[in-house]
Symmetry: C2
Subunit: 336 residues, 2 copies
């Protein structure tokens, strides 16, 4: 009889490993590139440069409102790949499973991954599964590596912000981070909190089709908006000035942040992007973002200045101003 | 003052994460593709099909005679990529670190990775680091994803073994597995045991240059020679017949296997390959393998037959015969 939990044997590379792959992974991830289950997949890339990114997902809890570690592992890497303007094509997947993990939970996670991959139009081409003993991992960790192809002539990067550029976000800040933290604290809220976890490649494609002056795309995940903007300001050697009142934050998120003592500008997003675009194209970019289901709350939140290079400054709602520094202080572990 | 162990803060995506990346990873892995540290790396692939593979390494202990989890994470993925005949080009790296991991140990591991990558001629193009709390992982897990380019006209795969082909191995079986298990058992041996962990791309290149009739290359890692040959026999729908006396096993490995009740044909190798080649080219393949420093003990160990399809049969040293089945039974967890 098949076990209903993960056993050490499932990771030993023998018959039990093959049965696990056959029972849980092979059918749900099936495609002609993966199906041979050889040491490596063989792919024919379309012409163009490739964009490649990797992330390991260790989010706790593994299931949360709006998704689970499986869908997140697809969305997170798809998003990193398309922030360089690429069309994501292929994913590899590496699982670390803790002995005793429920097969039912693993199946839910794998089904979410398969659905998220199909929705994003990416194909899972290679995978690996390891099992470690009880107490040697926490349920499940998932690594994904993503590869996409960059259209000819497109060049986006964190080093390309220029004075005069406009800074936009595609929607409200902090939804994913606050959802995970509220879940972990066991908060029972009347108002629903939900992770924004989603694949942004469709939004990026629409934006780039509408607007040829995009210089930087980044998704503000760990460390949130503030940390990501600091990275851009440092890499591009520019200053960034924000209008606090223009930055969209969901009122429920704002309320829970106040309750938990958190700042939404430092919380992870998993379905939002920052877009830095030539000043004259700010409205065109905004219109393109808002026309997409994932960009309805997009906003112009600030602009790029020449100096002081590397600094992010925020004009606050009450008329003052403050430096918005990188995340430092209380760590928020296992947010993604 | 910088901490001498990993803190949760090192994985939070803020200032401490940046400092860790700057202090441990950036300099040692430095190359023009990685250095921008953007969401994704941008690569220009040479013409040809790509070979792509991923593996997560969870070996316990993390340091062992002949290597550590860092060098192993490079060798293992380089080898999977080149088993399809590819020249490995790029690696991505994803770390999961346990809070409290010694920075000195992490540095040793990262230095081994950097050295192994340089020796194999591959470039680390993207990376990610996550930190989980004490007891939520065991020290360090490393995922690598590798990409290589396959020369025009070359087609190797586990489905391509044909009756009449010869079966070769590039050296002695079981060295890695027995080294890890002996280490874990705390065996103190006079005779030195050492993992065979090594990148095989140079050996593969020499073999393919010498011999155009290679049909299958596989590295017998988890599950060992027996399991890998069963996979090939099943995928190619052929029988494989081995001569036990022809299969090289180091006498020290054989001795420790007898002591621990292990079979070297089921133990992992991390620097050996199985080569299935057109029968008439068996000697040419053997000569090419033996001419390389990593193939000195290469041997012709058997041949491919038509039937019974899917079965691996071994003529034993004492003149009998037995089916060599896939690994099943006692699991050997965390061997790689």
């Amino acid at each position: 009889m098949a076990s209903d939990t993960i056993l050490l044997d499932h990771g030993a590379g023998g018959r039990a490993s093959h049965e696990l792959v056959g029972r849980i992974f092979a059918g749900r991830f099936s495609n002609p590139l993966l199906d041979p289950l050889d040491d490596a997949a063989v792919l024919t890339p379309p012409p163009g440069r490739l964009s490649i990114s990797t992330d390991t997902f260790v989010v706790d809890p593994v299931v949360f409102p709006g998704g689970n570690i499986g869908s997140l592992a697809v969305h997170g890497t798809v998003n990193d790949v398309c922030m360089r303007g690429a069309k994501p094509l292929w994913l590899t997947v590496g699982f670390v499973l803790e002995e005793g993990l429920s097969i039912a939970l693993l199946t839910t996670i794998v089904e979410s991954m398969a659905r998220a991959a199909t929705e994003a139009g990416v194909v899972i081409v290679a995978g690996d599964t390891k099992v470690v003993g009880r107490g040697q991992a926490d349920k499940i960790f998932i690594n994904t590596c993503g590869i996409g192809v960059i259209p000819e002539g497109l060049d986006l990067g964190a080093h390309l912000a220029r004075p005069g550029d406009a800074v936009l976000v595609s929607g409200s800040m902090g939804d994913h981070g606050v959802t995970i933290l509220a879940q972990r604290e066991g908060l029972n809220l009347d108002a629903p909190l939900k992770s924004d976890s989603a694949s942004l490649n469709g939004l990026v494609a629409d934006l780039l089709a509408a607007c040829d002056g995009v210089h930087v795309l980044r998704d503000p995940t760990r460390g949130g908006l503030a940390t990501t903007l600091n990275e851009i300001a440092a890499t591009s050697r520019v200053a960034i000035e924000l209008q606090e009142g223009a930055i969209p934050v969901d009122p429920v998120v704002q309320g829970v942040c106040e309750l938990l003592g958190l700042d939404p500008f430092y919380l992870a997003n998993e379905g939002k992007l920052i877009c830095i675009v030539q000043g004259g194209q700010a409205q065109a970019a905004l219109t393109a973002l808002r026309a997409h289901p994932l960009g309805g709350n997009a906003a112009i939140i600030g602009q790029v200045k020449e100096a002081p290079a590397g600094r992010v400054w925020m004009h606050t709602r009450v008329g003052g101003g403050r430096i918005l520094d990188m995340l430092s202080g209380e760590p928020l572990p296992r947010i993604c």
